[in-house]
């Protein structure tokens, strides 16, 4: 409990710096290349195109989902994945990447995942705006279900920022952990139902496990908004699972923080 208090207090004291650093983090990523900002868009576009192509023409599985073209169904869940995948690996590396803030100046460690997360969120919001435009071009105008976007976005950012604190701390003392996370990142993508519908899996216990997978929960949430047209309170089961995994992540992050925050500057 006291750990949570310390972490929140750090965020209050450093709230101005968090925004400044997030801004610097975005600029840093895309500065120094001729296309600059365009890369933030090009990479996701190419990735989505490849998957859309493979599933529409190659694997012959790209049938329309719930009356929506497969392409639209795909991007609705793919867009949050870009943020999530960046946070899974980039979040785990965030304290290492900002090691000078840990070892060369007085700066609260718990704030580093937060500004990293905000920086990646900006890209996510831009991509999301593009998705909304694409839906409009296909003739699907924004409706009342879009009001849920901030909710699912908040759920996503909250879980993955706390994850970044946990994984960032462990990665800071052990490169093996970082490699482990990187190795699993692709596996998570294929197993979380980003490119297929998890509800179509026949094996019951696999579906139960996937209910507790935050990546699946968020991707489904975005599809509730864009495709299923359902409200979050119609999926209480998903909400309950989310809060359970959130709680688990908070406990893990606090454990790691308490155990490591004093040591981290000495070992990096």
């Amino acid at each position: 409990m006291k750990t949570i208090q310390t972490i929140i207090l750090d965020h209050v004291v450093y709230k101005k710096q968090i925004l400044k650093l997030a801004k610097a983090d975005v600029t840093k990523t895309y500065r120094g290349s001729a296309f600059g900002w365009a890369w933030a868009i090009i990479k996701p576009v190419v990735t989505i195109f490849v998957f859309w192509f493979a599933f529409s023409y190659g694997l012959r599985g790209g049938k329309p989902v719930d009356g929506y073209p497969y392409f639209l169904w795909l991007i609705a869940g793919f867009i949050p994945w870009f943020y999530m995948s960046e946070m899974i690996t980039g979040g785990a590396a965030c304290i290492r990447a900002n090691s000078h803030m840990v070892t060369k100046m007085k700066f609260p460690i718990s704030v580093i995942p937060t500004f990293t997360s905000i920086s990646k969120l900006t890209i996510h919001i831009i991509l999301l705006a593009i998705v909304i435009v694409i839906f409009m071009l296909f003739g699907y105008a924004p409706d009342i279900y879009y009001l849920q976007i901030p909710l699912y976005m908040l759920m996503m950012v909250l879980w993955f920022t706390i994850w970044a604190l946990f994984a960032g701390l462990l990665s800071a003392i052990s490169r093996d952990f970082l490699n482990l996370v990187r190795a699993f990142s692709t596996a998570i993508f294929w197993m979380s139902g980003i490119i297929y519908n998890v509800n179509n899996i026949d094996v019951h216990w696999i579906r139960v496990i996937l209910n507790y997978n935050p990546v699946t929960i968020i991707a489904n949430g975005y599809r509730h908004i864009f495709i299923d047209k359902t409200w979050f309170f119609e999926d209480l089961m998903g909400m309950r699972c989310y809060f359970i995994v959130l709680l688990v992540m908070i406990v893990l992050a606090c454990w790691a923080y308490k155990k490591l925050y004093k040591e981290i500057a000495d070992v990096m």
Binding site: H100, I173, D266
Partner: protein
Amino acid sequence: MGEPVIIFDHVTKRYKLYKNDRARFMSLFSKRVRYKENRASNDLSFTIEKGESVAFLGKNGAGKSTILKMITGVSYPTEGEVIVNGRVSALLELAAGFNMEFTGRENIYLKCNIMGIDEREIKNLEEDIVKFAELGDYIDQPVRTYSSGMKARLGFAINVNIDPEILIIDEALSVGDRNFRKKCTKKVKEIMRDGDVTLLFVTHSSSDAKAFCDRGIVLEKGKVKFDGNIDEAIKFYEG
């Protein structure tokens, strides 16, 4: 005498040395993982008052850097307590902490922002810093194009111009050419004149120590061997 700004109260800092990184990782889950201990600071107690200028003298491995790290708040003591009152500006590694893709000017803002200085104050400081660093047109070029001397000059310029209350200099004056060193020396002396700023100086060179400091603390293996007048401290250290 003035108010104490830095208090070390029976401070011990132990580093745990594991066989390798895997052992360190395993130690998170099990208390049985073995490690060796290195006492970088061993039951240190001293008080530094406002306006004092103190030189820390000692060989490599005497524990000087550990003390500075605890004062800057980067590192925590294993036992005992470190109390620091005031804005610390540390010249630990001058080139560290710059964002290579950003220009010198942007780095001034970034660094000041992190330290919590508000935008208006930075604007006031900006001109002084730019002038002091003597980078010419390079100030608006990315820092990755700087030479090590230029980075050090910018780092020094930022740290001495942000009105520190506690200024820590760690071998930093050895950078740059003779003219720049002279300028740095003058600037540090100017800061010290008012008696509001506390200076901590780490060096191997006794002549530099003598030029800046009134008090000397000689360290050996994490312990205070001598604490007193700078001339006597140097005599003790060299003798």
